[in-house]
């Protein structure tokens, strides 16, 4: 979904290794919240005194967050913000947050991601932030629409977008040059990629170098995009029905199977052993579809040989899913006024500019991304911003993790060719539909 899931979180199993025993520790009752229409937010008095806990999971972003807190304290000198990093990325953070939610001890402000927003919003764990918008403390138009939509559940706005990521086509200029194949352009189609990939794989045969691959251990930087490009969907807009059995979706999955079958891409097993990102940075892959968060490592590894263009156009369009984080406040906030003031500031142009300058993420606030685009002058990072304009929101439902798990357990068989793609897609759709039916 974002940078977190690409690396493995080693701490997350610490919770589970105590297996039977640890399970019962997370009892308790959920917080009650109300979805009642909120009064417009008015900024509290500048001398408001409060203490806030701000929970995040990416240690690399802590310096930027500290800088933002320092700026915030120029306005509200008496609001003390403590940043709490749960350094393991991904599930350990969520295990902790979930336990805190069960025991009504959620941090005052915390990071939210796409797969979890509906789960927390629909279980009344989050404070509606419509008041921030109607009070003009936050302007929804300042962020990519898909992100605002992602954090709007049943018409209620719950999270102020913080940053975003999209995917594009990465390529290795040196590998193209040596093989005498013309470099990709932003107007390439699937067929262009397939034929160039075939030439490259053939040229480098026996050297362990392949033409094209994507990370098939998750959809965001690979099959989600191609499914959309072929006119399919991952999940219906209301999050109640799987889109995996639509012809477009099957075509989008077939794309990757074809690449593997024709030898353009390494096999499913090879990609499980060595991720496509690692293969690309170790110069074993000429082209890959990857997320904006890999620009840094890819540039470090390839230098001037790194090329990035827009996604190749599929039968319907070229599309990327967009995902991004948001800042949220728990429903039973101890200090709602201070928390809202802080979240409003986190969503401001100033805070976005500080994030952009550190170069770790693309800030969500429109017009502040220049610093990020300029961080690697040799490639046009603007393609990520262009793709964000009409990107589809990251597919989610109330219990996204349940069908993400189904994707991970069923789709490898389709990509490896042990079962026909269409059969797996239909099987996945029906299992996903029954998982979705359990949500309500």
């Amino acid at each position: 979904m974002n940078h977190n899931l690409n690396r493995r979180s080693f701490l997350s199993f610490a919770a589970a290794s105590a297996a039977v025993v640890s399970l019962a520790a997370c009892g308790g009752n959920g917080a009650a919240g109300s979805n009642a229409a909120q009064a417009a937010y008015a900024a509290p008095a500048k001398d408001l005194s409060a203490e806030l806990n701000y929970a995040i999971w990416d240690a690399a972003q802590k310096p930027a967050m500290q800088k933002i807190v320092a700026e915030f304290n120029k306005q509200y000198p008496n609001i003390k913000v403590t940043i709490d990093v749960t350094p393991s990325k991904g599930s350990a953070y969520w295990t902790k947050i979930q336990t805190q939610a069960s025991s009504n001890t959620l941090p005052d402000v915390f990071w939210m991601n796409g797969p979890h927003i509906k789960l927390y919003a629909q279980n009344n764990q989050l404070m509606p932030l419509d008041g921030l918008a109607s009070g003009k403390a936050v302007d929804k138009a300042s962020y990519p629409k898909a992100l605002v939509d992602l954090y709007t559940v049943n018409g209620t706005f719950y999270g102020v977008p913080k940053d975003f990521d999209t995917s594009a086509l990465f390529y290795n200029k040196a590998l193209f040059k040596d093989a005498g194949v013309a470099e990709p352009t932003s107007s390439w189609t699937w067929d262009d990629v397939k034929s160039a990939g075939a030439k490259l794989s053939k040229f480098y045969q026996g050297k362990g170098i392949y033409g094209y691959a994507g990370d098939l251990t998750g959809g965001q930087t690979s099959y989600y995009n191609t499914m959309l490009e072929a006119g399919g969907t991952i999940i219906s807009a209301d999050g109640k029905k799987s889109g995996y059995d639509s012809p477009g979706s099957i075509a989008g999955l077939q794309f990757w199977r074809d690449l593997i079958e024709s030898g353009v891409s390494p096999s499913m097993q090879q990609l499980t052993d060595t991720s496509s990102s690692d293969m690309f940075t170790s110069k074993k892959l000429a082209m890959t579809m990857d997320g904006s968060w890999t620009v840094g490592p890819a540039h470090t590894a390839l230098g001037a040989d790194l090329g990035i263009v827009s996604l190749p156009k599929g039968p319907n369009s070229n599309q990327s899913v967009i995902h991004g984080l948001a800042n949220v406040i728990p429903a039973n906030a101890k200090n709602p006024a201070a928390a809202q003031a802080f979240v409003a500031f986190l969503g401001s142009q100033d805070a976005a500019r500080i994030q952009a300058e550190t170069g770790t993420v693309i800030p969500a606030f429109n017009g502040t991304q220049d610093a990020w685009v300029k961080s690697v002058p040799s490639v046009d990072l603007g393609v990520f911003l262009d793709l964000a304009k009409d990107a589809s929101p990251y597919p989610v439902s109330a219990n996204t993790a349940a069908w993400n798990e189904l994707e991970n357990s069923l789709l490898p068989q389709a990509f490896a060719g042990t079962k026909p793609v269409a059969d797996v897609a239909k099987d996945l759709a029906s299992q996903m539909n029954s998982a979705l039916a359990k949500e309500s």
Binding site: L23, A24, G27, G218, S267
Partner: protein, 321 residues
């Protein structure tokens, strides 16, 4: 400060018990009370710890296995639904089979440990403690760290194992992502990790065997091999029994190695995943904690059954001196 109290306490109780026996039944009851008080005081921290962190959660887990447990709490009683669902879940028997195969392979580490231990413990063996340390290191290393290193070693394209095989013209498989091979690969690492612990217990057992037995056997003309099978192995059976129990229990708790070595979206996962892996998946990824609790109870039941079975058949092969 505690030690003198302990001595005083045990002495008084011994006084009561041995030097001043009291005849009447009523008095005897009182006596056994005073017998019990001090020992109980000293086990309180352990008993409370086990009670609060193990026994009570187990009771709770048993209760939650009959509920539908919401993500943020609020368990609802649903009777046997989780258990009937488990019966219909085809991944459960497959994962029990996987776990059994894993455990069987790891059990092969016990004969290996017996042989290694009797080599290391031979009189006059140099650097014996160095070897013991070397074999013990994998056991005390974090499984996560071990898993990452082995993942690299097993890598199909760039791993040293397949590079070695390629020297002989063999094209090695993708060890951790090919059904069949993946379980073998994970179990081999499990075996390697358990070797140190087994070696330690069996070494201790070896040193308990009276030297005179070997000397007498040697005088009778028994070869070293004969001594090994007729003296060493039979007299080691209590230690072997202990490590077998421990190995089977830890085999059924297989999770961390699998989690780290396999990664998500692995083609071989259905033929490799363990019961605890399914438990983790349901509890922490799919948020279906009630069902996960039922799987936890199943794991507990299987371990209890296997352990009880082993205690029953031990009479046939374990020799207590």
């Amino acid at each position: 400060m505690k030690a003198p109290v302990l001595t005083a306490g045990t002495e008084t109780s011994r006084d009561h018990a041995t030097k001043a026996p009291l005849p009447s039944a009523a008095r005897r009851k009182g006596k056994s009370k005073s017998d019990g008080f001090w020992p109980w005081l000293f086990v309180v921290p352990t008993v409370v710890g086990i009670g609060v962190f193990y026994l009570w959660p187990m009771v709770q887990t048993f209760y939650y296995s009959f509920t539908k447990w919401g993500v943020f709490g609020g368990a609802k009683f649903i009777g046997l639904d989780n258990y009937t669902r488990m019966l219909a879940d085809s991944s459960i028997p497959q994962s029990i089979l996987n776990t059994l195969i894993y455990t069987a392979i790891v059990l092969l580490g016990i004969p290996a440990a017996v042989i290694l231990a009797s080599l290391i413990e031979r009189p006059g063996m140099r650097f014996a403690s160095l070897y013991r340390t070397l074999y013990f290191i994998p056991y005390v290393t974090m499984p996560a760290a071990v898993g990452i290193v082995w993942r690299l070693i097993y890598n199909g394209d760039f791993g040293p194992i397949n590079w070695f095989l390629s020297l002989f013209g063999i094209h090695g498989p993708y060890w951790t992502s090919t059904p069949g091979f993946a379980l073998l690969a994970v179990a081999t690492v499990g075996l390697w990790m358990s070797l140190g612990f087994n070696l330690l217990i069996i070494s201790a057992g070896l040193r308990e065997i009276p030297r005179e037995l070997f000397e007498a056997a040697e005088m009778d003309g028994a070869s070293r091999i004969r001594q090994f099978f007729s003296i060493t192995v039979p007299l080691l059976t209590p230690s072997i029994f202990f490590v077998t129990i421990v190995t089977v229990i830890s085999g059924f708790q297989l999770f961390d190695l699998l989690y780290v070595m396999m990664g998500k979206a692995n083609l071989a996962m259905p033929q490799t995943q363990s019961l605890v892996y399914i438990f983790y998946n349901q509890a922490f990824l799919q948020n279906d904690k009630g069902y996960a609790a039922a799987i936890g109870i199943l794991i507990l039941a299987i371990i209890a059954l296997l352990t009880a079975f082993q205690f029953r058949i031990q009479k046939r092969w374990v020799n207590y001196v």
